[in-house]
């Protein structure tokens, strides 16, 4: 013992760390690997949990509530499809459906076309480019409430600046709020004002990702600026245009704040419902009349409508090959 001990065991103790060393290292390694495997799930979990709780669950629950008579604080009463029968036989629903559609078209189409033109201009090399870009986007930073309040004043019948301006040009004063089309036009202008600059920036981003070579090739082939715009810019922007069309459609189908405030906080959308949108109609059923079941029905029908509109949008944008 005393002879063999100093000769051999020294390197033996070091090289294979027996007993304690190996398991400890692999325990740590395993923990490390486990962390690496589970970490991504832990990182994305908050998003999905919150979405499930406050996004998906309410959406599904809306379908369930729409089959009931439901007032806050009372029990839900099963109605089956009665709410839907009520909805589809209600002239007010068709009115708000139609107004949502007309205001949607009046606001979305000019908005996207102006935005496309603006993006084209903003894409030029010029002085004060940043100023123009910031000025275009300022309305987007303004809240629905502020924008609608200001425009409600501008479109006032007696003292509104718009009527004053029209008077200067020699046009008689318009009763914007009480007219059918004029009220819809005024609300559309609020929407156009707020969202055109935002869409222009989105288009600008799309334009900047189109390869410069394409323009050079087109120019070499003798294409005019307009031809370049039509045959290079527009096709290159197609995905972007689809994106903005879908987002604007969804926004238009949910229009709520603008008509509510334009009408002085009343959800009836004018005396004749001339600007009562689906959003207002739902709010009126649920929170003015307290019938949450019917409000849920309106919401669910709106949702189905949006899906249809998105599909139609996608189809149209895909097919239009310039």
């Amino acid at each position: 013992m005393s002879i063999s001990t100093p000769a051999r065991p020294v390197p033996g103790e070091r090289t294979p760390p027996p007993g304690s060393g190996t398991p400890r290292r692999s325990w740590r390694t395993r923990l490390f690997q486990a962390e690496e495997r589970t970490a991504p799930y832990v990182y994305v979990a908050p998003f999905f949990l919150l979405f499930a709780a406050f996004g998906l669950f309410p959406l599904v629950q809306t379908a369930w509530i729409s089959l009931h008579s439901y007032k806050l604080g009372s029990e839900m009463k099963w109605l089956g499809l009665e709410n839907y029968v009520w909805l589809f036989s209600n002239p007010d629903f068709y009115n708000s459906l139609w107004k949502t559609f007309t205001i949607g078209v009046l606001s979305t189409v000019p908005q996207l076309m102006i935005a496309l033109g603006l993006a084209h201009l903003l894409n030029y090399r010029m002085r004060g480019r940043t100023f123009f870009r910031v000025a275009m986007i300022m309305p987007y930073a303004t809240s629905v409430a502020a924008a609608a309040l200001v425009f409600a004043q501008l479109f006032g019948r007696d003292a509104g600046a718009v009527n004053w301006l029209l008077g200067v040009v020699g046009v008689d004063a318009v009763d914007w709020r009480n007219g059918d089309w004029t009220a819809q036009l005024a609300i559309s202008i609020i929407v156009i004002w707020r969202w055109t600059g935002y869409n222009a920036l989105i288009y600008l981003a799309g334009m900047q990702s189109i390869s410069q070579d394409l323009y050079e090739a087109a120019a070499l082939d003798g294409a005019s600026r307009w031809q370049q715009f039509r045959h290079v810019t527009l096709p290159g922007l197609r995905p972007t245009i689809l994106f903005t069309a879908v987002v604007s459609t969804i926004g238009a189908s949910q229009l709520f704040g603008e008509p509510l405030i334009f009408g002085g906080g009343q959800p009836d959308g004018g005396a004749l419902g001339q600007y009562q949108t689906l959003g207002l109609f739902m709010y009126q059923q649920g929170w003015t009349y307290g019938s949450l079941g019917r409000a849920a029905t309106v919401a669910w029908v709106t949702f189905l409508l949006i899906i249809v509109l998105v599909l139609v949008n996608t189809a149209i944008t895909r097919r239009r090959q310039p």
Binding site: P40, F47, A135, T142, F151, W164, I202, R225, G265, A299
Partner: protein
Amino acid sequence: MTATLERPPVTVVAASSSRKRLRRNDSAGWLAYVLLALTAFVFLVPFYYMIVAASRPMAEMNQTPPPLLPGPDLWSNIVKAVESQDIGLALMNSMIVSGVITVSTVLLCTLAGFAFAKMRFRGRNVLFGIALGTMMIPPSLGVVPLYALMATLGLAGDLSSVILPSLVQCFGVFFMRQYLIQTLPDELLDAAKVDGATSLRTFWSIVLPIARPGMAVLAMLTFMTAWNDFFWPVITLNSSNPTVQVALNNLGSGYVPDTSVIMAGTLVGTLPVIVVFLLLGRQIVGGIIAGAVKG
């Protein structure tokens, strides 16, 4: 972020003859200036009108022609607006709501964006597809059960009922993923791994510092969106505990028929966003462009 605003330097490098042609083709003519100036004017006039109307007595705003320059009554109109709707409380509430939402959104979206951008795990593509798909679902469609849920939890009317549903948003996840794919080199992550850093440690000491500019942009956009949110706060909050937007809605709902006071309140409620824009407008514009869907 401003770098994304500049066009690619191709034109500068190109040969002189083609450079001339491209430059001529590229720089704006007088018509472009006129059109843009006109649009900028139209876009900015409502802000100016807000200031003019808020600084004059209502009687003067009812004259024809309406006054075109700011008047002396700004402060007294603001005081009236603040008194009639407790705008001070509303500003405070909006600060709390927007602040909490911003911090939580930026943090959670950076985490998720990092996972989606740089980590490999089973089901990543499916999960990211779902996350993208949620962008298509309009949030206001679930308001009925959400309202019922908040009422059941006893949170209706409470600020937390506004905060909870907005703690995270899919746009942010998408934005941070895109940002990190572009800016975070894989080599750095590999080096950290070799050094034995856990992924949380990597996130803290490597991802966060690199992601900071992107997080700043996301923070600005989120704050703006939260500050301006209207539909859900109007439904869940009552006038005794409003955010700025709810207060503005009440202000316009006829309790105060005074145009100038309404405009003064609107000005106060919009001012924070205007100030942020004057200071950081360039970055915000860059952020919107960077976050946009590119062709």
